[in-house]
Amino acid sequence: MDPNRHEVSLARPIDGNLLRVCNLTVSYRLGPAYESTALKQVSFTVNCAEIVGLLGESGCGKSTTALALMQMLPANARISMGSIQLDGCNLLSMKEDRLRRLRGSETSIVYQDSETLNPMMRVGNQVMEVLRAHKPAKTAQMRDEIYSIFAALGLKDCDRIYRAFPHQLSGGQRRRVAIAQALICKPRLVIADEPTSSLDSEATTGILDIFRQLRATHNTAILLISHDPETLRAADRLLVMYAGEIVESGPLNEVFEHPAHPYTRALLQCSTRQAAPPMFGVNRHSLACIPGEPPDPCEVLPGCGFSPRCSNRAEICDSLRPRLFEISGVHSARCLQYEARE
């Protein structure tokens, strides 16, 4: 069976695609002749001024996707197939030097943990150095720019924060500084990998508002990566990832209201069941209610990857790999249930 045959539905050339990922397959070498596939033929696009949410459990390949988009995969990772096009340029064939100029200025990442700031440098200088690397100007001018982005990110008392060391700031402030680092060069694509993990709900709301604003004012495209459906409410479109595959994709409202894939359904169900504040509650344990474990990435199931945990499982699911079926023009799911309908 030709593995490329049916994987193109999402990568249709649409004008205005800023990022187009096509059949991206990434594997990690864990030993001699021992590989685990982290991403299997992942295809998606992100348009200008669009917020795309990427939902999935930890270990499903979300962070690998983020690192692959930055071309910063660890040394033991290998991209065996596919392409990543940013604005029509293939990142995979780009020279390291050019990639470096792209990182931080065109594409930028807000990383999931709060230790992305050097504890021995003043945070203002750390933001300044991103700016200096890509858009050098007079120091005073750059400082003004940093003050204004601090203000825009809701960091009051810019002067103090500019001169503070990371340990003198709260978690939310540090995260905002990290976001300032990512946004200071006004990139066109921002990848936010769990940007709100370990923050309280107020800070979470604030940071999601920042992303919405950014999209509105600068036409920035944002790939919002999270394990928590509530965080992704800020998105326009949702991609659901399971075991290195995109299992469902569609507009946010449609996916939330009519989830097509059994995995999405289970995920949303336990999230709403546990969410005490309905919006932006941090449901770190919400995934425990899907029975079973995610599959071992090293072993390849012959059928649907979700079948051991699926409540709608049919006999055929163990032998046939489902492809992405279009449910409506924009909504598709990787589940054999829909094959019968076609």
């Binding site: 930055m70 910063m72 470096r100 100029r101 792209l102 990182r103 931080g104 200025s105 930028s108 990442i109 990383y111 943990d113 230790e115 992305t116 700031l117 050097n118 504890p119 021995m120 440098m121 150095e129 991103v130 690397a133 890509h134 990290a178 680092q181 990512a182």
Partner: protein
């Protein structure tokens, strides 16, 4: 609260030792090569505050010496000469550049002041001690700079890049660590012509001592680079487009600063000792240029060792110098933990 911390006390004592050596032309009353054949092996001069009539004077004085034959000297208490401060004497070059003939202290001829006695040729041991310190300490400092330069360079490259550069560099470092370096120095030095001029011998000494010692700092720095390149902020800086050289300069090397400084403070006395050892064995800079090592080498003669104790003073002075350095190193050591937390 204590008035002075231990660290600043140690620093001050190091400065007190180094300043006279640095300005040895000013502090030394005589030229290093100035010989007084009539005054060979004179013991340290006595400084008197009274004259022959037992009257007290505020200005100290020395009495003129008379050679009574067979290496015996006696003071002529009737001929006392006051010690003058900041007087003009024999010309010298300060730092090898500035001409001057100002000396911190001295006495008028025909009296002589020998604070540490004289050697076989009647040369003032104190003056030679100061000038010799210049050579010995400079050897230590330059060789340390060389060692640390190579060590930090290769250690960072190995730790930061990992993979085969790491393997190659570290295997070579292990080779260097396993070498008995003192014998290696002998071998290298013995291989080269014995009568080198002072400048060539000095350069050779510095480069051999410095290059042989690069492995230890390289290993330490590699360990730090290895752990700091894995830190999240290094990854983050790279994700924002930081180049390798930027990451090394701004994030990796600052982590190693404390270790580099401690290593420097540890290596300087070690390398001064290496110079002293080599010169003592006649493999360093040769006569008439003084160095602590070749000043001590006269002590190889048993007769000198038992009769003229003042010639051992340069060796005795090494003890406080080394102690200050080593104590300073141990003071500097735990500093990093506070920042790390």
């Amino acid at each position: 609260m204590r008035l002075l911390s231990k660290k600043s006390l140690l620093l001050m004592s190091l400065v007190a030792i180094h300043v006279p050596i640095l300005f040895s032309g000013l502090f030394a009353p005589y030229d290093v090569a100035e010989q007084n054949r009539d005054f060979s092996f004179v013991p340290p001069s006595r400084i008197h505050f009274t004259d022959a009539h037992r009257t007290l004077h505020l200005r100290p004085s020395v009495c003129s010496l008379e050679n009574s034959g067979f290496g015996q000297y006696h003071e002529n208490r009737d001929r006392c000469f006051p010690i003058h401060f900041l007087i003009m004497g024999s010309p010298y070059l300060l730092f090898g550049v500035f001409k001057s003939n100002l000396h911190l202290f001295g006495v008028e001829a025909p009296a002589k002041i020998f604070l540490m006695g004289t050697d076989l040729y009647g040369r003032d041991v104190f003056s030679r001690f100061l000038y010799g310190g210049q050579l010995s300490l400079l050897t230590g400092i330059l060789a340390t700079a060389l060692s640390l330069g190579f060590g930090v360079l290769f250690g960072t490259l190995a730790g930061y890049y990992g993979g085969w550069p790491d393997a190659v560099i570290m295997r070579i470092a292990e080779l260097f660590l396993a070498l008995p370096w003192l014998y290696l120095l002998f071998a290298v030095r013995a291989f080269l012509p014995l009568n080198l001029n002072a400048a060539a011998a000095f350069c050779l000494l510095v480069s051999v001592i410095g290059i042989v010692g690069w492995a230890r700092p390289a290993r330490l720095v590699r360990g730090i680079a290895l752990s700091s390149r894995e830190r999240h902020y290094v990854l983050a800086a790279r994700l924002f487009g930081g180049s390798d050289s930027y990451l090394i300069r701004r994030h990796v090397l600052p982590d190693a600063y404390a270790v580099i400084i401690t290593q420097a403070v540890l290596l300087i006395p070690q390398y001064v000792l290496a110079e002293v050892t080599l010169s003592f064995l006649g493999l360093g800079v040769g006569e008439p240029t003084p160095s602590w090592g070749n000043m001590l080498s006269t002590l190889q003669q048993y007769q000198v060792l038992v009769s003229y104790w003042w010639l051992a003073i340069p060796g005795a002075v090494l003890v406080p110098v080394f102690c200050s350095y080593l104590l300073l190193a141990s003071e500097l050591q735990p500093r990093r933990t506070a920042i790390d937390a």
